[in-house]
């Protein structure tokens, strides 16, 4: 895919004082970019980070003339994006991959989709064939070329989208949160692919909320309020925790742990990015022996509602040629007051099980008991059931429908026929719970909220029914680090103070580590593994084989053990890691090493 880059001395992308304003003439325009200047050289790997609304996506769309500057200039390979005649060249040089896999595939088979770009460029059929084949082999999907895209996993779909970009033989690939919707295996596939095509000479510009991914990049650009807030190596960005938090970001787990250790242990280096670096640094300074016991977190017993799933099977499109088995004999119990996580690769049956527990799908074989009564019986009275079990689907913010936030939250309580005062009280309570103050937000337009606020509003809409059991499908996918942290805190609070039982299906193992007491691992419609969170994550190889991974902190500890340090393998959170390692850092070895008096 790489072209000869001998003669190119000029930057691949050059942006000078770029401003972008959204909005029609006459309205007050929204300034998304306010004077950004930067250059990207051929062969670079750049990560763009920033909180939601900081202008990342707008910037990315200027890179291949999908948006045009309101002020300032963008040049790609010396060509200004302002001239329409340049667009085909620019867009084939700087190709783009978007966040939603399913919304960027146009054709009905993989091979036709990958050919779409080259066809648009009017290449001769033999060249198209060659490019398409080369691109599909690069992403490892040549064998699946005749599949319709909607029968592929999200990770595969995203690789098709990348192949579609590569087939135009671009010099640069821009990815706009292209891994946000993927499961761990899909994310690994895509990141490995990016590393490879970068090594082959393609320039990569990657927008991401996943801070650990920035470790792949040589250079990080951080945006805040439409301005360039940082431009440098990831190491330099994360070494300053105050700046990171000011930008609405958070350091990757390794760096966060290093910062915590540095507080206890002055002089501990904080410019660490990979588990291996941390392990190497620690190995020099830590006592090799000594143990520290971990106290498992226990669910409190005060919650209500127990669920018992008995030998549940489910087949989608049963009785048609397209029938697919989603659940294949699942047994599970949810105890009152617990937080239970369902994990598993895409297509393992998590969402199906979740919908079954919500009473939205009833098992083809087997049954689900709620408080000992068959859910089918409960489901006959939706209004009662909706006050027992609430469910929040993926991307719930897309399901808001009332113009005003308060009305949308009030939808459920009104449906069950509460009086005005009670509805108001419920709405107020629910909005305060999720961190949207009632008086400030109730009369705001739903569509004017940010993505994160809309998701909180959707959660409030479910909470307003005061369910005892809350089911969540990918609650934090696509959120920026700060919003994610707030949402997790809300859920933990609801569980501990509000005695809410929670079941969440997620790809994000850090969410599981932060919340769950117990984990069910699903694979091909069966429970492959289950137990307390700590025990489940102690089997990292097994999880890896199922297309999953362990939380970031756990993998740091694994790296430490590989270096010969005797630390517990099942450390889940930063707090625990700090405690475990802190206990071993006695008596201030840094001081001893450096011979400084205390």
């Amino acid at each position: 895919m790489a072209r000869a880059t001998t003669q190119q001395k000029q930057p691949l992308i050059q942006i000078a004082d770029l401003h972008h304003r959204y909005g029609e003439a006459g309205e007050r325009p929204i300034e998304a970019l306010r004077g950004v200047s930067l250059t990207v050289q051929p062969g670079e790997f750049v990560a763009i980070v920033g909180a939601n609304g900081s202008g990342k996506t707008t910037l990315a769309r200027h890179l291949n003339a999908l948006l045009l500057p309101s002020q300032g200039e963008v040049h790609v390979d010396g060509l200004s994006t302002a001239r329409a005649a340049h667009w085909p060249t620019i867009r084939s040089q700087v190709a783009m991959v978007f966040q939603q896999p399913e919304d960027q595939l146009i054709a009905t088979t993989v091979i036709d989709d990958v050919a779409f770009g080259p066809e648009n460029l009017g290449l001769p059929p033999t060249e198209i064939e060659r490019n398409v084949q080369c691109a599909l082999r690069t992403v490892g999907l040549w064998e699946l070329r005749h599949r319709p895209p909607h029968l592929l996993s999200a990770g595969q779909q995203q690789r098709v989208a990348i192949a579609g970009a590569l087939a135009m033989a671009p010099r640069c690939l821009v990815l706009d949160e292209a891994t946000a919707m993927l499961d761990p295996a899909g994310r690994r596939e895509v990141l490995a692919l990016l590393k490879r095509i970068h090594a082959e000479g393609t320039t990569i510009v990657m927008i991401t909320h996943h801070m650990a991914e920035t470790a792949l990049a040589e250079r990080v650009i951080a945006l805040a309020d439409g301005r360039l807030a940082f431009d440098g190596t990831p190491r330099r960005l994360f070494v300053d925790p105050a700046r990171v938090s000011r930008l609405g970001l958070e350091p990757p787990p390794v760096t966060a742990l290093a910062h915590r250790l540095a507080q206890r242990w002055p002089g501990f280096p904080t410019d660490l990015l990979t588990p291996e670096e941390l392990a190497n640094t620690l190995a020099k300074r830590i006592a090799p022996n000594g143990t520290s016991a971990l106290v498992p977190s226990m669910p409190h017993q005060n919650g209500r509602l127990s669920i018992h799933v008995k030998d549940a099977h489910y087949t989608y499109l049963a009785g048609t040629p397209l029938a697919t088995k989603a659940l294949n004999g699942v047994n599970a119990r949810i105890h009152p007051g617990e937080i239970v996580a369902l994990v598993g690769a895409t297509g393992s049956g998590k969402s199906t099980l979740l919908q079954m527990i919500a009473g939205l799908l009833s098992p083809s074989i087997g049954q689900v008991l709620l408080e000992g009564t068959d859910l089918d019986a409960w489901a006959r009275d939706r209004r009662t059931l909706s006050q027992q079990v609430g469910i929040l689907f993926q991307r719930p913010e897309e399901q808001l429908f009332e113009p005003y936030v308060g009305d949308d939250v009030a939808f459920g309580p009104r449906q069950i026929g509460l009086d005005r005062a009670t509805v108001r009280e419920r709405v107020r309570w629910a909005m305060e719970q999720v961190g949207l103050p009632f008086l400030t937000y109730k009369d705001r337009f739903t569509q004017s909220l940010s993505g994160g606020e809309r998701r909180k509003a959707a959660l409030a809409g479910v909470l307003a029914l005061r369910p005892h059991l809350l089911l969540l499908d990918e609650p934090t996918a696509g959120l920026d680090p700060r919003t994610r942290r707030e949402l997790l805190a809300t859920l933990r609070h609801l569980n501990q103070e509000g005695e809410l039982t929670i079941v969440l299906a997620t790809h994000n193992m850090d969410d599981v580590a932060a919340l769950a007491h117990r984990v069910y691992v699903l694979a091909k419609g069966r429970i492959a593994h289950q137990g307390p969170t700590r025990r489940v994550f102690s089997r990292s190889e097994r999880l890896h084989k199922l297309g999953l991974e362990v939380p970031a902190v756990t993998s740091i500890m694994t790296a430490l053990r590989r270096r010969g340090l005797r630390v517990p393998a099942t450390v889940l959170t930063l707090e625990e890691a700090e405690r475990v390692l802190g206990a071993r850092l006695a008596p201030s070895p840094v001081h001893a090493l450096e011979g400084r008096p205390t």
Partner: protein, 295 residues
């Protein structure tokens, strides 16, 4: 709630992979043959002709090796509508339909009367609708959407000179069919989410139009907003991949019709011509007479 699966009902444009003779036919030939049979179905108003056409379509369904029940599913789903249609036709008798001869009363009860013209109308229109539904399913089940789209594009290409946007039509068709399952799934998710919030989409009084519409808002707003967002994202993705319309575009592959394709086309053409030429009205009358004589 047992089967809240919208994909089950979104069979439009669905492709069922297979390797039958019908699957392998050149899409252009298949489209022309489809058009010919549709014309034959539309213009036949004799019992015998419709019977033969239905049989022929069933034969094609057999040749495609699709499961019979699935091939007939859309006809089964349309059954209630067909019954209602038949009742309407019974109440509003068509006096001149069919042969143009006077209508004989077969059965009468108070104001209701069933003439042989009405009977013919009911039977023939039901048979026609079933034939068209099954035929459409047969076409989409056995043809990849992309092939269908390129087929349409190729067939319309000669009309491009007089301003028919062949490529754009084909692309629109292909994208529409590509998103049928996606939108069905989206709808399903919205229905489930709002149901879980206590919404009731069940029966409501049929005279409270405003109330009923208001009740559907929780479904329609997310569906439309989502659909518009989705199309915006799709347009952006197409633009990012240098799409600027049909001009200056090339194609990776072009279909080439072989001997089997032409033989199939000639066979279908001959069959439809025969359906056109033969006076089935006379045959019907002869059949009636023979049946009456036999009795």
């Amino acid at each position: 709630m047992k089967r809240l699966e919208f994909l089950r009902y979104a069979t439009l444009g669905q492709y069922l992979p297979g390797d039958s003779r019908i699957h392998r036919l050149d899409p252009r030939i298949k489209l022309v043959a489809f058009g010919l049979i549709v014309a034959a179905v539309t213009f036949s108003n004799a019992y015998l002709a419709n019977g033969i056409l239905l049989l022929a379509i069933l034969l094609l369904l057999g040749l495609s090796r699709l499961p019979l029940g699935y091939g007939l599913q859309s006809a089964r789903l349309a059954l209630p509508a067909l019954v209602i249609l038949a009742l309407f036709q019974l109440v509003m008798p068509a006096r001149q339909f069919g042969t143009g001869a006077t209508c004989a009363i077969i059965w009468q009860w108070r104001l209701l009367q069933l003439t042989d013209c009405t009977l013919r109308l009911i039977v023939v229109s039901t048979a026609r609708l079933i034939a068209l539904l099954v035929l459409t399913n047969l076409l989409t089940f056995t043809t990849k959407t992309s092939d269908l789209a390129t087929g349409v594009e190729d067939l319309l290409a000669p009309l491009q000179r007089i301003g028919v946007p062949a490529h754009e039509l084909a692309l629109t068709l292909s994208i529409a069919l590509r998103f049928v399952p996606t939108l069905a799934l989206q709808m399903e998710r919205v229905v489930k989410a709002q149901t879980a919030r206590g919404a009731d989409f069940g029966a409501s009084s049929r005279f409270q139009v405003i109330k009923t519409t208001r009740r559907l808002l929780p479904l329609l707003v997310p569906l439309f907003v989502g659909g518009l967002r989705r199309s915006e994202r799709l347009a952006l993705a197409m633009e990012a991949r240098c799409y600027t319309g049909g001009r200056g575009r090339s194609r990776r592959t072009r279909a080439r019709a072989g001997l089997t394709d032409y033989v199939a086309l000639i066979a279908v053409g001959a069959f439809c011509a025969a359906m056109w030429v033969i006076d089935f009205g006379a045959l019907d009358r002869a059949l009636w007479l023979w049946l009456a004589g036999a009795r």
